[in-house]
């Protein structure tokens, strides 16, 4: 009995060691190959040097992105022009822009688009606002890691976990019964005797779901902005203070301009994440009760309800929706480069 236990234990440890070793081997192998490539290519000089460096630095990323994202994107555009219903369907035919026409004329999808725009405006603004506030407040604070860890915590939780957590906040039980949802409990204590059934009451429910996204994303904004704030040397702040800047003015005239670029980057990233997010809406309400957003509808069309072509059209629309963001960032970047 004990012998089998020992052998079991050693086999478990052995399996663990093999698995981890494989991962370490991979990382080391990867770094070793990089080192060799850098070493060999480093000997090139003269006219060859720059093109070679560009190829080495950019090649792997381009190759991987082409394989993992560009080809699927082309497939998706292609699918959006057909009448494909399920994955692997053998007979499909081209239907032109029919799926796009459907997306823009179907009243349900129209509402979905409007709601997605709402998400896109509110969530990044609030999440980045909170993240920036916390980053500023704790930037030079003692024991800063305590509040930072608290705000970061939600970011470390999977969406499934977040859904469970927030069900303990938004749960509705008739007011005469013991409450299981924190929100109901709090507002009842505050004197609102008959609170609504939060998650099925539009348009309130959409905003409550946004709160979850903000809760998750604020940690991201805080960490990245915090890193940028840290990069501002104390000397700069101190000399500004010498000049009489303090509090909000210091923040507005020195800190924000110095992290402006990072701020735009974070805002853009949160916007794109928000545009893509479907997990929250999917797991909380499955888009019911007027909470649907484009990404959820797209996911359901493609993988749940077998309407691949329609889902693909929505994906392309999502992609086009980001183009203005891209253009804005392009302009920012150009300006940045001109200054330099």
């Amino acid at each position: 009995m004990s012998a089998t236990y020992v052998s079991l234990a050693s086999s478990v440890a052995g399996q663990a060691a093999t698995t981890l070793l494989g991962a370490v081997e991979a990382v080391l192998g990867f770094v070793a190959i990089l080192a060799i490539v850098f070493f060999v290519a480093g000997r090139a000089t003269g006219r060859l040097e720059k093109p070679l460096a560009v190829i080495i630095c950019l090649g792997p990323a381009l190759f991987l992105v082409a394989l993992g994202l560009v080809i699927p994107a082309i497939t998706t555009i292609n699918n959006s022009l057909t009448n494909q219903q399920f994955l692997g369907q053998q007979k499909t035919k081209k239907v032109g822009l029919k799926n796009y026409v459907f997306a823009f004329t179907d009243p349900y999808t129209q509402q979905t688009i409007v709601r997605t725009v709402l998400w896109l405006v509110i969530v990044p603004a609030v999440a980045v606002g909170v993240g920036l506030l916390v980053a500023l407040l704790v930037d030079r604070m003692k024991y800063a890691s305590i509040p930072k860890t608290m705000v970061f915590l939600p970011t470390a939780i999977s969406f499934v976990g977040a859904a469970v957590i927030w069900s303990y906040v938004y749960n509705y039980v008739t007011p005469s019964q013991p409450q299981t949802g924190l929100l109901s409990q709090v507002v009842i204590k505050l004197g609102w005797s008959n609170p609504p059934n939060w998650l099925i009451t539009p348009p309130l429910n959409t905003f409550l779901e946004m709160v979850i996204m903000i809760w998750i994303q604020a940690g991201f904004a805080m960490v990245v902005l915090g890193a940028a704030l840290k990069a501002i040397p104390d000397e700069v702040i101190e000399s500004a203070r010498m000049d009489g800047a303090s509090g909000f003015r210091l923040f507005r005239t020195i800190q924000v301009p110095m992290i402006r670029n990072t701020l735009v980057v974070v805002l853009t990233t949160v916007m794109i994440t928000t545009l893509k997010v479907f997990d929250i809406v999917f797991t909380i309400n499955n888009g019911n009760f007027k909470t649907d957003v484009l990404a959820r509808q797209m996911y359901a069309d493609m993988f749940v309800t077998s309407q691949v072509a329609r889902g693909s059209a929505l994906a392309v629309i999502l992609f086009l929706a980001v183009l203005p963001l891209v253009l804005y960032n392009v302009r920012q970047l150009r300006r940045e480069r001109e200054i330099r």
């Binding site: 663990a16 991962a23 990382v27 994107a73 470390a156 303990y168 509090g247 990233t269 980001v322």
Partner: protein
């Protein structure tokens, strides 16, 4: 927050020569004192607490029985304490324990975090400092690709792993022969993370002071050498913040692991194990609470460990005004 009434700032303004501000540690000390206002701390802590309450509810419920958690709020725990470690016991011991899945998760996450960092920072550097025709276009393509939902890529990518890349029936690129191994998961995560990684790291690297890079060029350093000895070390804060999130995404990922992870249940990561613990008809959803807590521990450790890389003054004196 109003520092005008702060006696410290008043003293320092009078006692220091305005033309010659403090430098080095003295400056750090002065600034730290000025910013450690109690109001700021209280506001920060208040936000922190507000952010933690929902998770705290889950934490309390992870110790309560299924029917308690379903019929009364978690705050009732303080009125009628009922304590049970049953959930944790089931999560830790169910189906052969959590040890192997944890190891698998690490084996997936570590390479899938480190590899994209190298690939992306190299690309970011090339796009930011080795200007060539088309470099802007390439950067914008990377940027725009962020929005491609990774669900779109599941089928085409899997076809590539299994059959190689075929265009019109001709194999353009043979299969890499990684089907059924962890390498397939690493590759996929790397691909999906690149647009954001290149975007974030490029923007940071582009802001590095040109003078440093110019100086190295003048000394005769090659591009690759500058990347290795100037850019990489100076990018540590950006790399640290990106790796935290890449680590988290991979750690919490279920979709990629499930799709590309092969069929051997012994190679499943924690997320897949957690999911299978919840039962066929969701009859053990209560296990999500303890399970959620156990999986959160590792990312928080990583966060705390990487925090020290957000070093102040890495670029001291060289940031453009």
């Amino acid at each position: 927050m109003s520092a005008t009434t702060d006696p410290m700032s008043a003293t320092s303004a009078t006692s220091t020569d305005v033309k010659k501000p403090l430098t080095g540690p003295a400056a750090t000390r002065a600034v730290r004192t000025a910013f450690s206002s109690p109001t700021a701390s209280i506001v920060a802590i208040a936000i922190g607490v507000l952010w933690t309450i929902p998770t705290f509810g889950l934490f309390i419920n992870s110790f309560r029985s299924k029917s308690d958690a379903a019929t009364s709020g978690w705050w009732m725990f303080f009125v009628h304490p009922s304590f049970s470690l049953d959930g944790y016991r089931q999560v830790l011991t169910g189906q052969g324990g959590l040890f192997i899945p944890l190891v698998n998760s690490l084996a997936i996450t570590i390479p899938a975090t480190i590899i994209p960092i190298f690939v992306a920072s190299m690309a970011g550097y090339a796009l930011a400092w080795m200007r060539f025709r088309g470099s802007d276009a390439i950067f914008f393509t990377f940027f725009a690709l962020q929005v491609v939902p990774l669900q779109m890529a599941l089928v085409p990518l899997q076809q590539y792993y299994v059959h190689g890349l075929r265009i019109a029936g001709i194999t353009v690129l043979p299969s890499p022969g990684v089907n059924g191994t962890l390498a397939q998961i690493w590759l996929s995560h790397t691909m999906f993370s690149l647009p954001l990684a290149v975007f974030l790291l490029h923007n940071f690297i582009a802001q590095l002071p040109g003078s440093l890079i110019e100086a190295a060029r003048v000394d005769g350093a090659s591009h690759l050498r500058i990347f290795r000895s100037v850019v990489l070390p100076l990018s540590m804060p950006a790399i640290a913040s990106f790796s935290i999130f890449q680590f988290l995404w991979v750690w919490n990922d279920l979709l990629v692991a499930k799709t590309f992870g092969g069929s051997n249940p012994a190679l499943q990561p924690v997320t897949a194990r957690m999911q299978s613990l919840t039962g066929s008809y969701g009859s053990h959803l209560e296990l999500l609470a303890p399970a959620g807590f156990l999986t959160i521990v590792v990312p928080v450790i990583v966060f705390l460990a990487l925090q020290r890389y957000f070093v102040r003054g890495l670029l001291a004196g060289s940031v453009k005004g």
